[in-house]
Symmetry: C2
Subunit: 198 residues, 2 copies
């Protein structure tokens, strides 16, 4: 991106955000500084501060965009079989964590830690990822899976989200001889196995 | 505790640590200051700094002690039935989180966040809590449960630990009509249901 390229402010902000998200793939939030972004974008720090007033605003915007990417990339496919839909969402999630390991790890840690705004984005995203399993399931799907949509089931699906995050992050750090396909099967079957039966 | 009580330095440090752990039950780590401990113990800040050089040292010592308490309180009982052992460990864990909600929530968040030393204590404790499920299980138990002790099973048991933490913390914040007994049954059954079958 050159300073001479004519772009609307919105389009330039968008470019910078996408660059921030790409940079986050291989570094932690701590390492994602305004300086690093300015250098990568080839524009001045002053101009960056025009788009992101503070480093915290920049981090928040990048994390919000990265979270939206996860939700979009792992959206249930149109397959009529709920298990096939689930498998493809889990595969997309594992692919995402593999590709964006450094940034995703630091994002989860920072969100769990002290920052309220990052935690809010994280909690909203976690809820969106698991709630849509029900939103995408027809009443027939639930019957086929032997499930009811009640508070206990929702709570356990939430917990499954925590399990998947923990297991996939542990696996990318140390696969311990488990292949990606095995991992995907393990966590997908886990959801079906761990849910309460009426 | 009075300044006139004659105690060895080790015994006094021990008393202060136990007081710190009790105080952590109802407040976050952020709220657990050297000032608050000094006031509660009725001794000077100066004397406290003799036992805990810095606030970080004090927090680390309290968290280490609290983690040891969780491990001890949730130790598998001597019951020959592995499911009965698991149920009683889960019940002890839920009791602990209920009683120490404020401190435990902040501990999990701080451990997940930026502090390396707290994270190390947290990771070691999480590993101890789930690894001993296998250490306490005889080969006959594993056969009875239809389990093998391999990398995939260990990974999923680790993930179950993340699920339990997430689900129990969500439940203490908002029980959503789920009773404590139901919760304990849900997460205990989940372990059996989510593990890979040979």
């Amino acid at each position: 991106m050159s300073a001479r390229t004519r772009l609307t402010p919105e389009a330039r902000r968008e470019q910078l955000l996408e660059l921030g998200v790409r940079m986050l793939a291989t570094r932690s939030l701590e390492e994602l500084s305004i300086d690093a972004l300015a250098e990568e974008a080839g524009i001045s720090r002053g101009l960056l501060y025009h788009y992101f007033r503070t480093k915290a605003d920049f981090h928040e915007a990048v994390v919000e965009r990265a979270a939206a990417d996860v939700v979009r990339l792992t959206a249930p496919s149109g397959d009529p079989d709920p298990l096939v839909r689930l498998l493809s969402s889990v595969r997309a999630y594992v692919d995402y964590v593999e590709t964006n390991q450094a940034g995703y790890t630091s994002l989860v840690q920072r969100a769990a830690g002290g920052n309220d705004r990052l935690r809010e984005i994280y909690e909203t995203t976690r809820a969106a990822l698991t709630d849509r399993i029900f939103d995408a399931a027809s009443p027939e799907d639930l019957v086929a899976l032997g499930l009811v949509d009640d508070a206990a089931t929702r709570l356990m699906v939430r917990g499954w989200g925590a399990l998947v995050e923990d297991v996939v992050l542990a696996w990318v750090r140390a696969p311990a001889g488990i292949s990606k396909d095995e991992l995907i099967t393990l966590v997908t079957n886990a959801l079906v196995g761990l849910l309460p039966r009426p």
